[in-house]
Amino acid sequence: MDLRFTAEEEAFRVEARQWLATSLSGEFAALLGRGGPGDEHEVFEPRLAWERKMGRDGWTCLSWSREHGGRGASLAEQVIFLEEYVRARAPGRVGHIGEGLIGPTIALFGTDAQKKRFLPPIVRGDEMWCQGYSEPNAGSDLANVQTRAVRDRGDWVITGQKIWTSHAQWSDWCFVLCRTDASAPKHKGLSYLLVPMRQPGIEVRPIRQLTGTSEFNEVFFDGARTPADHVVGEVNGGWAVAMATLAFERGASTLGQQLSFENELREVLDAARENGSLRDPAMRQRLAQAWIELKIMRLHALRTLSLAQTGQLAREAMISKLYWSTWHRALGELAMDVLGADGAVARGAHERLQRLFLFSRADTIYAGSSEIQRNLIGERALGLPR
């Protein structure tokens, strides 16, 4: 057990810090602090330019192997980069779905041709991705997916509706969970297809959320096409692939997001300092508890990652989504309690904290609701009967 960074790792930190300081100037200076949770729909084009700048300079996909265009960065280096990224208040990434979800999935299940075709544009920031999982009748019961894909000559032809698709309006590609065998039991007739978004058979409609903004979309597929070889894993074997992607989504890929929570907690603390609630004993207890739980969130992510290196990934990882989403939602509530009556005034000085409060209501729903997480933890980690 040794939680310290080595001299080489500290040198890597200096390199990352210098690159961020130099790069987040000029045209990119306006992006500082933008595009975080609840702000993901803002300033997309400049953030895309930033993503490409990162790609050109070799700072995307750090954890990927060199063979896949990554840096083969160690756990410690990934952590260091994320720490520096958050400290620099660099903008929310637009390439996170490619880098964090579909890239690792293709690396794990994809053919050589798929890796060659799809991984390099993710590294460069040239192609954006979105996730086609949920449907109006397939939320928690994801295996109830009804969107159909049928073969037509050399293509799959896709018909159906996906929902809660973030980034769909900007994406070049979507990974779509489709029913390819309607006669098979529900988990066994699904395939995992890679579908180009810019074609006539696809329509994207924004969803107006309780935040008033629209990070999420509905995506309608009406005879959309993709080549037959753009299936990841086996035809009708898409469930296992979809679960692997979900494991990436619920697991350690959220470390960067968790680090960005530190900036949010700091904003809440600053507000508490300004309006005097930091002197209130009851509020001090809650703020300290939020600080403690965030510290533990980070330690837990590091422990999970460090165990994953030794191939023992297990129940430690399964709890992280439930823990961080519960924490983040509670932080939104705490922020509003800190603001007091000021929190009732919309679009005031505290708009960011109001947005945190509202947007964090989604955290315990997407990527598997807390109730689904508890079922999974109970059944998979503790072995309880269904």
Binding site: A288, I292, M297, H300, R303, E316, G378
Partner: protein
């Protein structure tokens, strides 16, 4: 960066679990908790032969020369089994105090006998209802021979059975951190009056120690308030580890019961009302483990700046997690969990006692708030 035990540490922990399963199982714990001294003396003798009393004591003083990561691993196992052993009092508190605050002569005099198991020791740090060093009222008056100690120390873990006491006191006419020091006292010295107190937690004995003008030599004084805080912070990490072990055991008992107890023709663990409680318990246990692992590394290092934070985080979080898990364990067991025969109540009582043994979680949070405020 690596959060995993080395193979040697992992084997030490596995060995501790095997040992405790063989000699500190439920029946033996119950026998020990009802015995006069409250300890399983035979088990402690065997534990000393395994080197537990010598664990963090350097080889120069007859110890094993291991660190707090190893001690915390053992503490997790004793917390898991509720073993009635003087490990926490003798090693995590008293030996630790001598190591941190003692000079070479003091260490040479006392540590080898603690390491060998010949001497059991206790740290008397609390008075009235607080553990804060600034509240110490016990006086250490200078005289020709050395010091005369007068005052009442309370909630002394294993104080009644200890051979050696380390006592906190202050010089006359001082306040706050000024004048605070630790004194090594023979537990059987004239003027030391020990009164065992009945405890909510039958597996951990407490004692009131009255010091009625106890004469100690000049060489018995050591440390200051800062040293005392470090000592209590390291002990807090060990207490957090014990709590983690207890919490995990409660989760296991409740999970096993939920898998086998059938009502409405189904194992009750298939009901989401039960399943979700158990899932929340696992969240508590695993996150507490992350906190304790980090805190153990901090306690093992020389990083005394991070120690107060690590201790406050790990202790408040792990002891509260333990209480939640122990309370849920009773609830999930239903009626059987309310009986004396079932072990659930022993964990509930240990968990409740652990919440206040070294200061409350609320006090830990106030320490964190103070630190956060200053940033």
């Amino acid at each position: 960066m690596n959060f995993a035990f080395t193979p040697e540490q992992a084997e030490l922990k596995r060995g501790a679990r095997r040992f405790l399963a063989s000699c500190c199982a439920s029946a033996q714990v119950r026998a020990a908790m009802e015995s006069a001294g409250g300890h399983d003396d035979a088990a402690w003798k065997s534990a000393c032969e395994l080197g537990w009393s010598a664990l963090v004591i350097p080889e120069t003083y007859g110890g094993a020369g291991l660190g707090w990561v190893e001690l915390v691993a053992i503490a997790e196992e004793t917390g898991r089994s509720l073993a009635c052993l003087p490990l926490f009092s003798t090693v995590c508190l008293a030996a630790s105090a001598l190591l941190d605050a003692g000079d070479d002569a003091q260490r040479t005099e006392h540590l080898p006998r603690i390491a060998s198991g010949e001497v059991q020791a206790a740290l008397a740090f609390a008075e009235e209802t607080t553990v804060d060093p600034v509240a110490i009222a016990t006086l250490a008056r200078d005289d020709a021979e050395g010091y005369v100690l007068s005052g009442t120390k309370r909630y002394v873990v294993d104080g009644a059975t200890a051979d050696l006491l380390v006592v906190t006191a202050r010089a006359p006419a001082t306040s706050g951190d000024d004048g605070v020091a630790l004194f090594v006292v023979d537990a059987r010295a004239p003027g030391v009056v020990r009164e065992p107190v009945p405890t909510l937690d039958p597996t951990r004995r407490l004692c009131t120690v009255e010091l009625r003008g106890v004469q100690v030599g000049r060489g018995s004084r050591m440390g200051d308030a800062r040293a005392l805080r470090r000592i209590l912070d390291r002990a807090a990490v060990a207490l957090a580890a014990e709590a983690l072990g207890g919490a995990e055991r409660c989760l296991e008992m409740a999970t096993d019961y939920a898998k086998t107890r059938v009502q409405f023709d189904r194992p009750i663990g298939s009901f989401q009302a039960i399943k979700h409680r158990l899932a929340d318990m696992l969240v508590s246990v695993e996150t507490a483990r992350s906190a304790v692992t980090w805190a153990a590394c901090v306690a093992a290092s020389d990083d005394v700046d991070e120690l107060p934070t690590a201790a406050a985080v790990a202790k408040s979080y792990a002891t509260e997690a333990f209480f939640r898990c122990a309370a849920e364990c009773v609830q999930i067991h239903g009626g059987i969990g309310f009986t004396w025969e079932h072990d659930a109540h022993l964990y509930l009582k240990r968990a409740r006692a652990s919440l206040s043994l070294l200061g409350s979680p609320a006090r830990d949070r106030e320490r964190i708030a103070h630190m956060v405020e200053a940033v």
